[in-house]
């Protein structure tokens, strides 16, 4: 009798204490409307001279991980291997800077789609969720209607298309339709679409689904330019837009109050040379009031229940089958490895 009373009082005190601690009401907690974050990061270029595209996507991957999105919520697609490429003078590293400031490849990286698996078909299947049943969890985008999804694409593009691995291309119409499929199947709450290619604006011009915020590194008719060459590698190391975006993101901490409005102003024309284009008409909220961590970081919202729940003792009884049941009458033997007469 006493125990449930104590329980109740404890709960009440705890709830009151917590309420005073946080200083926020439950409404504020759920203001943004999303409960989990996903990221789909795609690099579509192959070959050593496209080193910068791999560095681009790994920079964003690094920022996402640092700000809290776990590997299980990130789908990373890298079309070629730069870090362990025989041409890389510093194996297992991908730097975004010729001065080797940040190893964006890092020590804890999980690539979900690598090499030949990065195709238009796989990308659309990941977005829409129409994957074969044997696909493992780490390769699936298991988002729901409360997920904020960050989609980042980089590679070679043109007016209305993005080239995948020098062999195929995805058009802006296909991409818009894929997002519409996601919307109709309630696979996202809000999407932030970032693209760093030549004529990148054309890729988001055909979007028609709600709640999509898009930014591109160049307008139609302009080329996105790369930042600088690393003489020891011999190729361009990173693209301009992503370089300045990474610089901005490095100053962000998980508790930061920086807004998406500030992020959309990153890389003005004198730094990027191309004009950064953005699309905010489909997005319902005001970008200057949206936190950057709504898309790049990971929100773990906790719902407080004022009443207590009784849990059954879920530990199994000692399972009836002991290992003694497996005892065989005859001793087991190892298989003969070389089945031919010696």
């Amino acid at each position: 009798m006493a125990a449930p009373m104590v329980n109740f009082y404890f709960q009440l005190i705890a709830f009151a204490f917590l309420h005073q601690c946080t200083g926020t009401s439950p409404e504020e907690f759920f203001k943004s409307g999303h409960t989990n974050n996903w990221a789909v990061l795609v690099d579509t270029s192959r070959f050593w001279f496209n080193y910068r595209h791999v560095a681009n996507v790994l920079s964003i991957y690094r920022s996402c991980k640092r700000l809290g999105i776990p590997d299980s919520r990130i789908i990373l697609m890298v079309a070629d291997d730069m870090a362990c490429n025989p041409r890389n003078p510093r194996p297992a590293t991908v730097f975004n800077n010729a001065n080797n400031q940040i190893n964006v490849y890092g020590d804890d990286v999980e690539v979900d789609y690598r090499g030949y698996e990065v195709t238009v078909e796989n990308f659309i299947r990941v977005l829409t969720g129409r994957l074969p049943p044997s696909t493992p969890r780490s390769k699936r985008l298991l988002s729901d209607e409360h997920s904020n999804v960050l989609v980042y694409m980089t590679g070679h593009g043109g007016d209305g298309f993005l080239k995948f691995q020098d062999a195929e291309e995805i058009s802006n119409v296909e991409l818009a339709d894929a997002f519409e499929q996601m919307w109709q199947k309630r696979r996202y709450h809000e999407v932030f679409f970032m693209i760093d290619t030549c004529q990148a604006e054309s890729m988001f011009q055909k979007f028609y689904s709600p709640n999509i915020l898009a930014v591109a590194s160049s307008k139609v008719g302009e080329d996105s330019l790369s930042h600088h060459v690393d003489p020891s590698i011999g190729v361009y190391v990173i693209d301009r837009y992503t370089y300045y975006a990474l610089e901005f993101l490095e100053t962000v901490t998980p508790g930061s109050k920086k807004t998406m409005g500030q992020f959309l102003e990153v890389c003005p024309k004198y730094q990027c040379i191309s004009t950064v284009a953005k699309r905010t008409d489909l997005f319902r909220r005001d970008v200057n009031k949206v936190l950057l961590t709504d898309f790049f970081g990971s929100v773990r919202n906790v719902e407080l229940l004022p009443d207590s729940i009784h849990l059954q003792n879920a530990t199994l009884h000692t399972h009836s089958e002991d290992s003694s049941d497996v005892k065989s009458d005859k001793p087991l033997s190892y298989a003969q490895q070389f089945p031919m007469p010696v």
Binding site: R46, F47, D81, A83, C84, N85, R90, P91, A92, T93, N103, Y105, G106, D107, D108, V109, E110, V111, D112, R114, G115, Y116, E117, P132, S134, T135, P136, R137, S138, K139, Q165, D166, A167, L316, H319, E321, S323, S324, V326, K327, S328, P331, L332, S333, Y334, A335, Q336, Q337, F338, P339, M340, P341, V342
Partner: protein, 565 residues
């Protein structure tokens, strides 16, 4: 060479999935995959680099370049579907493109890959439940090391795994990750099976690089880290160093001094192993194992291993070719060998051209298992059992014809070529010379130091081959469109102009300047109602004028013609 081995033995039987419930040291992610897909034994290796048998002897686990996966399943129906699902699940678990191991590259080896653990004779003789596949093209990088490290009970933060610095490991000549799951005996009576998970990492460095020939090495120089802790969950935490040559050339000394030195005695080979118990060396500071050599590196003739092999492509052109494999036997006794090859379907092997020769004499194999390929479905599978004579070289040759692939079947970098997986040579050695693998009945390295058996099972992998297929010019459509459109524009356009335009002559004498043109323009407007009577009058003029005008027309036509072109 550094060889890391992390062995976990769990006293449950893999044959009973219900017993795989309370996970403690065995990783749950791997255990779930094993029980869901009814796996009895699993062997996965991910390697980059080629192991040079002639120079380095035999590794503890031999692995081909790329990824190799062979699995024995519990007896059930529909093994093909289970294999397809398993490779997908493993590709997610190990961040490798194992999902490309489909029926086009999977074989069922009949004699070469018998179970490495406990299995009944009836079961292991049946190759229905085994699947073998390789991906020679696969790259191994930190993204494969990360999930491998996450399977370890202590993770990568403490213990020996904390030495694994990816930047240094991938800088070596050869590195190989391995995951091996099999059934072993729980005790000496062996009435109940246990499941053993062995995770191995073999790395080969050259310590003399950048050091001007000095071959000193230490943990700090090889891994950029020292050993600062030991895993409290492990029963045995040891480091073994081979000091057989410590007193002879090259002389070296170890620091700190090893705890004791064991003698490893196996038939034909005696080695001295220095043993370190990690716990004794962690205080006061971390363990930085150092070997200091007195002299610089000198090259000398090392003894060749008993059996080794080389394989290469022969022929020229893009129509035909051949493959030759040379197997060397440096022992003074004959030995039987099983040679297994998997050739992709697009290299059409002529079985009639298969020859095994020893010093010019043809050798007839005892047994042949040859399963021809089915286009786009199965690869060629070849297993040969024959005798290797003492101190000789045996040459296996066959020729093939290259097939045309459909243009959608080429990979995005089609001009790189196509890989052929390594051949597998299995044999039993009577002497353990340069043999470092653990024997079948034990789990730990130390347990196989005093091995009284006289037969040592050896598995070798040869090089992979890179073959070019007749590749279409993928820039052709773009070039053809440009060329065709240019031709059409010039030729057809000109013809069209010539045939559809109406040519009128202009009198060169009537050519006027600008002012006169303006005047005539205003004049035309005035004279328009009077045109008809004027034209009639113009028709009457004398023939001379007509002739003149005709000749003028011809001249003007010519001139017009010139201006056209």
């Amino acid at each position: 060479m550094f060889h890391f081995q992390f062995t976990t033995v769990w006293n449950v039987s893999i044959d009973k999935p219900e017993s795989f419930q309370h996970y403690h040291l065995f990783p749950k992610s791997l255990g779930d995959v094993l029980t869901t897909y009814k796996v009895k034994e699993l062997h996965l290796s991910q390697t980059q680099g080629l192991w040079k048998h002639e120079k380095w002897g035999y590794p503890p686990e031999d692995a081909p370049p790329g990824d190799e996966l062979w699995v024995w399943f519990q007896p059930h129906s529909g093994v093909d579907q289970t294999w397809a699902d398993l490779v997908n699940a493993l590709s997610g678990l190990f961040c490798a493109s194992l999902n490309f191991m489909d029926s086009k590259s999977t074989v069922q080896p009949r004699w070469s890959f018998r179970p490495a653990g406990l299995a009944s004779e009836f079961y292991s003789a049946n190759s229905r439940f085994v699947r073998y596949s390789t991906l020679p093209r696969e790259v191994v990088c930190t993204e494969n090391l990360t999930p491998w490290k996450k399977l370890l009970p202590c993770g990568s933060k403490i213990g020996l795994a904390s030495l694994l610095n990816s930047v240094k490991i991938y800088d070596g000549f050869y590195h190989s990750l391995g995951v091996h799951v099999r059934s072993v005996c729980q005790d000496t009576q062996c009435l109940t099976p246990a499941t053993e998970l062995k995770q191995t990492l073999t790395v080969v460095y050259d310590p003399t690089t950048n050091k001007n020939g000095k071959q000193d090495w230490s943990f700090q120089s090889m891994f950029d880290r020292t050993l600062q802790s030991q895993c409290p969950l492990a029963d045995t935490r040891k480091i073994y160093v081979d000091v057989t040559t410590q007193e002879t050339l090259p002389k070296f000394s170890l620091s700190p001094v090893p705890d004791f030195v064991l003698n490893q005695k196996r038939s034909g080979e005696e080695r001295k192993i220095a043993v370190y118990q990690i716990g004794n060396h962690l205080s006061p500071s971390s363990l930085n194992l150092k070997a200091m050599y007195e002299e610089k590196l000198t090259f000398s003739n090392s003894s060749l291993p008993p059996v080794y092999a080389n394989r290469f492509v022969t022929g020229y052109g893009l129509e035909r070719g051949g493959v030759t494999c040379m197997i060397y036997n440096t022992m003074s006794s004959n030995t039987t060998v099983i040679f297994m090859e998997t050739v992709p379907w697009f290299l059409r092997v002529y079985f009639s051209s298969l020859r095994i020769e020893n010093d010019g004499k043809e050798i007839k194999p005892y047994k042949i298992n040859f399963i021809p390929a089915k286009d786009r479905a199965n690869p060629y599978q070849m297993e040969l059992v024959f005798r290797l004579f003492a101190n000789s070289v045996t040459k296996i040759t066959y020729s093939f014809e290259r097939a045309f692939l459909k243009w959608t079947e080429y990979p995005p970098d089609a001009n790189h070529g196509f890989y052929v997986s390594s051949a597998v040579v299995s044999t039993v050695l009577p002497v353990a010379s340069q043999y470092t693998a653990t024997s079948q009945s034990v789990s730990l390295l130390e347990e196989s130091f005093s091995d009284s058996s006289s037969s040592f099972f050896l598995r070798l992998h040869t090089e992979t081959l890179l073959v070019s297929l007749p590749t279409p010019d993928f820039s052709m459509p773009y070039n053809v469109i440009c060329l065709a459109c240019t031709v059409v524009a010039i030729a057809f356009g000109s013809l069209h102009n010539l045939t559809t335009r109406d040519f009128t002559a202009s009198d060169p004498s009537k050519r006027k300047g600008l002012v006169a043109k303006l005047k005539s323009f205003f004049k035309k407007e005035k004279e328009s109602p009077e045109n008809k009577p004027d034209s009639k009058e113009e028709e009457i003029p004398s023939q001379k004028d007509k002739d003149n005008s005709k000749s003028e027309e011809k001249d003007s036509k010519k001139k017009d013609g010139n201006s056209e072109t």
